[in-house]
Symmetry: D2
């Protein structure tokens, strides 16, 4: 089982490679009767797109998608939607420099050993190009969630050691005001400067994304293995370059005491809320109606310009030198991917939740 | 779908509540012909057991398990193993103090809202008592992995602000030499002191566990949604009180450059290894043969002695006061749980991997 | 994956062997708030029970079950129910006569070859004793369906060449009036005579069960691989001794013309129905509101008294002679099993269906 | 969950509609390193193709497929294969005659009620056009099975009341010698005559297909819910127009005695076989090495020329008259579909079986 399917009731399967025919997704379980907003899908793809600014890769990729099935007279029919983005440029570029070599911290070595064969062109299936398919499926899920009053906002929280001060209140409407997607202009400028500098050095830098989900109903999730934050964690850790995930207080909880960390309940105008939200909106694996908040850590992109020690497929020592146009930092383009994965997890669990109580069934 | 099943080929389903008849697990897909080592299971349960030391809860729990199926003449038959631990003391204690109140940062409120009914006795299904079932199933998986030369070692890495110095080389054989399960005696003493002090204050404290998996074959895992570290992440985040997970460099990767973070390959005596291991043994979602390393963050236990603001089921303001004997810090008892969950993820993916290549099939 | 789990949202996992500790089931996804009717479960087990009449095996089995989890104050909590029947008599009987021999048309040979080990006592996991667990889980599903107005009635339609005349209108209230469970007294008597005669000869005989599901809502099922009748078919074919399944017209459809077979729609007092029901209540894999009707064919029980040619585990020719008290015909006891499996399939698809349309979600 | 995914380790997801952009399939879990034989896929599609002979629909469909992913330098890479057949002619034909009417014994009514919306053009997703995707995925599975020495042969066994005499020994090499795909020339001629006559009457007729799988290893399958014949049964019942499935003796078993039906084991030149094969190659849900044999019953095609009573979407009585070019009998074109579904079930269970025994893992 190659693990290319995600979700239980809102279930997607992605396919495609960086330099093959294209990238696609089949979405099975999208509720019927949804008026498909293709512009929204396209807009989300633009946010993930290479070449969108000076701080991302200048590679050119096609983002024009074709809906192959599942829509009739502009609405989803309840049957699977297949959506495909054809790769524009499949010219057989010269990949001889990596064909037989394993690039450090890429998937070259592990794919070769697992499958005995590897599409080495641009990373093949291991390329982050695959995430375009996730953004399409996530954009659809978001359309459904929006109609339920649920909003998902991710933004860049840190690049290298430039971190958004946690005391700053975030205005989500400003996220896309700058090319780094940090809603605080001054911090954004510092982040952009750091990336620009790193890029000039032919190097790359890590970063972090913070995500906030508001408008959550109470009671979404599951109590044991499929805890809502465990599902979100898996979703995030499945994104290329992600090294860490934390929900609510996260790693800060290690140094906290129970008396500080506990979220006291209160009744505010008939609405049960908590005074603090160290739980990150989830208790016992189930949403409590507070905003869901989590952070995702991204490593520096593995492709760098400088020469690196490696081995070739015979195990001989060799040198690998980065070519091509790659991202100096992955986070600005990863924002819509984080939102997409979150969106699918939340929708899936909302669908699952509908069969929970007997009183809702009879 | 209540999400009480975990795994694909090595698949477990747990059941039971803290103060019901007991706790159990069904293991479907355990390889046949395994000589069952009941002592090993029992020993692992002892490591998770309440009352094992002065720094854990002094609650008394039964750990005697009964194998209900799946074993014949001491060996697994390939059919499902069901294993049950009967709760010793089901006396109807007085739980009226929490029956209609929502304890802060527990699952009381979310369970009530999701299901419309809640077994409030000792937390019911949300109690960490459920993890005893995981330890049983993990101990079995470990028996299989041991025969493959794979070793999983978890230990306490941090309690509050007492952190094991990362420059110290860890001797896994010393993990169980002390009651906190930190293999460095001096640090262990400091941790124990901190917990003892916190306990006296009627408070609780967070902590962290680090896990190391050695002897991994190359090629285990999957490239896209079911990346090996995404599966490990979900497994860890499904453990009660876990707030964060990081693989390899983890959150430290945020501030690193690609030139630092990349793991150069080298050939050491015919074995391809990497000079550093910021990848944490996994590249592109697939094991590269290096040790798999990850950290898990635990929040402070939510049950504390002091009075806390809360609401009751009618939404009226109320006060909740902790009763009973609870853990001042969850990490010493969580070590075998982390190992168990890791063990099941690794075994499951090893089983899945066996059908990957055509050449192995014909 | 040993395949001991059934269903998607109403998901059961069974375990246990004929002569081990007992037989059990975990039910995950039972709607919360169901008032558990233990008497109903017990009554269904009585219908499956050995020794209930002179035409079934006189073997003695315990049917007393214990609910191990998932129920609180008499109601389901939404967490997994585990229910266990302890085998009464685990005395180590003498099974040396089949220990090393493969009984013809049993699972002895295939289990041995697949797993390399086999619990030969009474058939172990391959014994129809496992179906007691299905009846428990089915009885629960039936309780939910009953509250939705759905009724499932199975009855014996044929034993050997004694077949219930298809022109006879069946009165479901008479099914349990006789020991063969055929609602037509005269046919029932003939069937009982045939079984009695066959039993005297030390032989066994095949039979068939017909099932009718009324009160079905329109729109339950799925269009492609998980067609409702495909799911019912799999469910029935998974019952021990079943050799065939047909929905609606079934094998008779082979000789029919489209002009005969098509079910014309009509509007009867505002209700859309069909004039005939060759479709068996399902069109395109989805229920159309008409009664669902299907037949299930059972082979003669494999255990017979006469000596039969076989081989032993070394492959040497040997003779197998039936011992013990076995059913001369399986169908009277299989009626509640057929109903149980049908019940679970229908409930599962009703739960799944609840997330189909956008308009029901917002 | 719309149920468009089939299989566990060899897992396919199909998509597309009869008159949408096209029909496709994603195959996840195909073993890596398989040299893709596109000619074989194409040849299988030709066997399913409309217009291939005078006794099938003269509709024109495109069968040119495009491989969108998963193949590199002619070999499968272990990543998902997506294969797409673009519909040639998407001209907006006049479907107003069925737009608001429910054709008897089609899926029009049930789709409309389930989803609230329906792509009525040519049946949309409910069209048997979807099975082209299954044939592609089955052809790939067959390539793998062939390398293991497993052969799957289906043929037409019955059309109306013309039935292949069961005493005739079948020569599988003759199956494609005639347009009905019955390997006995005289019977084939009679079948063709009957279909031709039925077609002239504007009517349709049912039929049956028999399938034989040889070269099976012993031990494939699972003992309880996922019995190998239960999986085959579900696979067959998921094919459009199928009304019944029987394994081995099937419905004939009803009238048989145990002493007749039991398959005595014997040792023939060191190979354990059975003297008869009423079990159909499967015992206790697991293959015993004998040929697997089963029958599949197909109803007469629902589209007929004569006027039929029906209702429209407002529930008013109306008349539906068949238009277009439809199959007078579905079986000749269904032969490769039966083989494809069988092929995928067998391969999937062979892949699953590889992780069964401990001794194969260490």
């Amino acid at each position: 089982m190659a693990g290319n399917t995600f979700g239980t009731l809102y279930k997607i399967t992605t396919f495609g490679e960086s330099h093959g025919k294209g990238i696609g997704v089949v979405i099975d379980g999208c509720p019927s009767g949804l008026e498909l907003d293709e512009d929204h899908i396209f807009a989300e793809l633009q946010r993930r797109k290479p070449g969108q600014s000076k701080i991302v890769t200048q590679r050119h990729e096609n983002e024009e998608f074709e809906i192959l099935s599942g829509v009739f007279e502009g609405k989803t029919t309840g049957t699977p939607l297949a959506i495909f983005i054809r790769n524009q440029d499949q010219r057989s570029k010269d990949y001889s420099h990596i064909m037989d070599k394993y690039r450090p911290s890429h998937a070259d070595y592990t794919y070769s050993k697992k499958y005995g064969i590897r599409d080495y062109r641009g990373g093949g299936r291991s390329s982050a190009r695959e995430t375009a398919a996730r953004v399409i499926a996530g954009a659809l899920a978001t359309q459904v969630l929006t109609q339920m009053g649920i909003k998902i906002n991710a933004y860049v929280n840190q690049v290298g050691n430039i971190k958004l001060d946690s005391s700053i209140e975030v205005d989500y409407s400003k996220i896309d005001d700058n090319i780094i997607r940090c809603p605080h202009p001054q911090t954004a400028d510092q982040m952009i400067d750091l990336i620009t500098k790193t890029k000039k050095e032919g190097d790359t830098i890590g970063g972090a994304i913070r995500c906030n989900i508001s408008g959550m109903p109470v009671g979404i999730g599951a109590p044991v293995f499929d805890k809502l934050h465990a599902e979100l964690g898996k979703a995030m850790l499945s994104i290329n370059a992600v090294k860490g995930f934390e929900i609510g207080s996260g790693f800060d909880a290690i140094t906290m005491k129970g008396s500080e960390h506990n979220d006291a309940f209160e009744n505010v105008d008939g609405q049960i809320t908590t005074k603090t939200n160290y739980s990150g909106g989830i208790q016992g694996g189930i949403s409590n109606g507070m905003d869901i908040t989590f952070n995702v850590a991204f490593k520096p992109v593995a492709t760098i310009i400088s020469a690196q020690d490696s081995v070739d497929k015979e195990g001989n020592a060799t040198i690998v030198t980065g070519k091509g146009r790659h991202d100096p930092c992955v986070v600005p383009r990863a924002v819509p991917i984080v939102e997409s994965m979150a969106s699918m997890v939340i929708l899936d669990h909302i669908l699952i939740d509908r069969s929970t109580r007997l009183e809702d069934l009879i």
